[in-house]
Symmetry: C2
Subunit: 571 residues, 2 copies
Amino acid sequence: MRQSKLFGTTNKDSRQYDSINATLLQKAGFIDKTMAGVYAFLPLGTRVLQKIENIIREEMNELGSEIFMPAIAPKEIWEQSGRLDSVDVLFKVVGANAASRAKNDAEYVLNCTHEDVVTPIAKKFNLSYKDLPFAVYQIQTKFRNEARPKSGLLRCREFRMKDLYSFHADEADLLKFYEKAKVAYTKVFARLGLGQDTVIALASGGDFTEGFSHEFQTKCETGEDIIFYSKKLDIAYNREVAPAKSASLINSQEKELPMEDVKGEGITGVEDLTKYLKISVEKTTKTIIFETETGQVIAAAIRGDYDINEEKLKKIVGCKSLKLASEKVVKKVTGAEVGYAGFLNLDSSVRVYMDDSVSGRKNFECGANRTNYHTINVNFGRDLDVPKEFYDFKVPREGDCHPQTGEQYEVFRASEVGNIFPLNTKFTKAFDYYFSDASGQQQIVYMGSYGIGSSRVMGVLVEKFNDERGIIWPENVAPFRIHLLQVGKSEPVAQNAEKLYDKLLAQGFEVLFDDRINVSAGEKFADADLIGIPWRLVVSEKTQDKVEVKNRTAKEVELLTVEQLLKKLRK
Amino acid sequence: MRQSKLFGTTNKDSRQYDSINATLLQKAGFIDKTMAGVYAFLPLGTRVLQKIENIIREEMNELGSEIFMPAIAPKEIWEQSGRLDSVDVLFKVVGANAASRAKNDAEYVLNCTHEDVVTPIAKKFNLSYKDLPFAVYQIQTKFRNEARPKSGLLRCREFRMKDLYSFHADEADLLKFYEKAKVAYTKVFARLGLGQDTVIALASGGDFTEGFSHEFQTKCETGEDIIFYSKKLDIAYNREVAPAKSASLINSQEKELPMEDVKGEGITGVEDLTKYLKISVEKTTKTIIFETETGQVIAAAIRGDYDINEEKLKKIVGCKSLKLASEKVVKKVTGAEVGYAGFLNLDSSVRVYMDDSVSGRKNFECGANRTNYHTINVNFGRDLDVPKEFYDFKVPREGDCHPQTGEQYEVFRASEVGNIFPLNTKFTKAFDYYFSDASGQQQIVYMGSYGIGSSRVMGVLVEKFNDERGIIWPENVAPFRIHLLQVGKSEPVAQNAEKLYDKLLAQGFEVLFDDRINVSAGEKFADADLIGIPWRLVVSEKTQDKVEVKNRTAKEVELLTVEQLLKKLRK
């Protein structure tokens, strides 16, 4: 393609957006923002998106058949799965004006995911054990009513996604397919240039499995997720589900000091407390009073520098929901205003759960259950019994260990590029999707779902592969493989450049040809670096009948004959 | 692909839907109805859709660059073009539940077309005469709030579309490009197998041009449009804009009879009138009283078997809008209740327009301007002067002639497969899209838009290419080129079929392999005819090491060696 005819030029705008991908993709003319979280893909961006989606398509064809489901759906199916009112990013569609509503006043759902659509379709066709297992996928536009779209293509209100759904006779078969899907996903990310840095991380199983779902997480400094990796076990966890033990802080030299209640009027937050008491944050303790759905009151105590992961805590308590106890309840069980709860002399009706981070300390602080008072220099064994069990309901922190191995986690930021869910029977039950087994009995179908956000992947690629001059596309997804620059507008230079362009096209290479006149050499070089096509070729007065060749990642240029160049490119 | 693994089987359901394409595409397992006017494309349907879209893509790449615009857009841009409240098929998008609206209570437009989106994008990049002309296109899902979706893929609430937009320095350049687009479209329809039967028909220019827009109309018995074709001029018109003259009915033998007013209490409609007066419908006359936007009252008279085309009439009158006059106004100008208007003794303030169909008759009827009375045996020259001018504001009927040539039109039904519009400055003015010309002056940009409904094309193909046994896909868009049937399950047959399947795949052919066991030969043949893949190959006990070959359109089978088969397929 001739750059003189390319729609969507690079721009000199020095604006920095909230992420590298938003800045570079807009600056280099790949995307254009229509509104918050909604982008148009310009020709360069469309090419990259299509390449990403074609790689995904090729690998998904090994798992199932491509279909194409509608973006809008009747509300009834979302009601049937119980999600119409509960999915808080769901959009609906209605007539935009009085004339439109007069024609048809119905409301439809704008799908943010397609489990609710695909399950009834599958049920229409495949009802025998002979039909199972099977899988279908689509590459579609999805819509999410995000409160705060951000980070360019990473969190959008409208985005592209490949979603695959698999259907099975039993859980074992689902899990077998699930492993196959992991292999296919691994191939996809390898081909996208992300293989080396993408790990499979355990994540929440949501309400469809006691176990985990799995996220494909690409190491990336600007990633929004934090991954805890155990080298010994070779297991990666999303922080939200990582089991963690805090390192013991006990200093054997430290002498136990007399316990006392200290007055600190209105001092409640951890930060204020450390300043006021002049102790390190690790000596402080948070004791949070919760109520369960049955009204049971519990206290959860954790070291002051940790936060509580309520999902973990719910599993430990064995309840469905937890909410912070009301002021009234707090006052009743602690005898104090909110902010002074501790576990030393709580009402005996309150069951106390201690995170392991509470242990392993000497002379620590905890709330005095007395308004404006904190107890300091508390010590296990002396001031209270060591509890029968310490738990893990912490949001892990760097430095924490895997509880099984005691090994410190490797912690890194990452960006999610795919996820797979063992949905089990959540949707098949909602839609009464049963099959006849070999003996004619009706059995529930098991189901899995498998997503890759193709536009998001484009954003992650840019977050990961860039330098101060621009984007550095991996070869497989670059909008073009070659960026040919004509530098200088003399007749011989133009002729050489045109000849090389024709030759490269004839050989089947994808070439962006910077044939612009009245654009300086410096500007052409800067644009080439910004756009980030792998191979930059320069034809100028200097190169004569040779070509100056430079890979986007290389520091040095090479001067090659056309034949040498073709040999290099064919490698 | 192995048919045993194909998702979306043919079904024995004998249901007839409202159109051939709806019936056959669902019966053969190409599409599945999610709700009225909204379909999921199953694997076979997805393959056909992608082939259609790739053909369109390849030809559009000759005209412009592919981009991908969002489906949702801010309401403000639709307000700016003045279309937010006037486009009566427009949808909007809002949070689907309280939780979603609490996160983000905004409303967006769900685009039914993208002029309002593309114009502001184009304006961001291309502002100099050096950038013009240029064109961009996308292949996208569109949404229309149709009151009554119908005819399978022909009129949907959600559908696929290629839309291209071109931008120009002046109208002449737009028209030049417009002709290029016609050529590209012609190539597209030729490759889709519709070339021979697709004509370019003139259609309404809407509010953006005094001239015409152009529709690509495919001859098709079940088509929803009626085309009037003038062979002498080689021009096709959509009925809505076809100029037409009715054939004269004067019988020179017929004597002029005495004019008289006949009482017919409550007789007003043409049908009742012909029965009551015992005259042919061609002797009756409709005189309709209208008011223009300025309150001017006019009467339009037309032969009883014609309807009035208000668009034509508005142009003749030179007004912007026409509405039926109120009862009060009718009474004032005719002196009678509604239903008895005629042109003989109207209030002189009323300007009378007569369609040419009113002339060329003897002894005709018209309203008496007297409640319950009609005048019969009216004759021009005797009872009233021949008016200075007869007009053409009829909806043409079969048998009508082109006014210039006097030649009777060839009239046929057709289905619209594409359309192109010279938008001129409608949208560029709305979005203030000006460019700097060579002398630095600001000039308005001219614009055209060019659509092909790719999913609609799939429906039209089926409407056109079918027989009593099923679909007959043109080779270029068939889901597979070859349908290989294994008939019989003996070891040698299975081996021969598998070997042939592998060989065909290895040679790059697309093959659907009916490897199903426990399915009768009859059922396999019926399914093959229903699905409509061009080449049916049968391997059975009978064929030994040869192959039975039949084209979907052929009556006879051939028995060929594999080598002969490959030679035939390569042709």
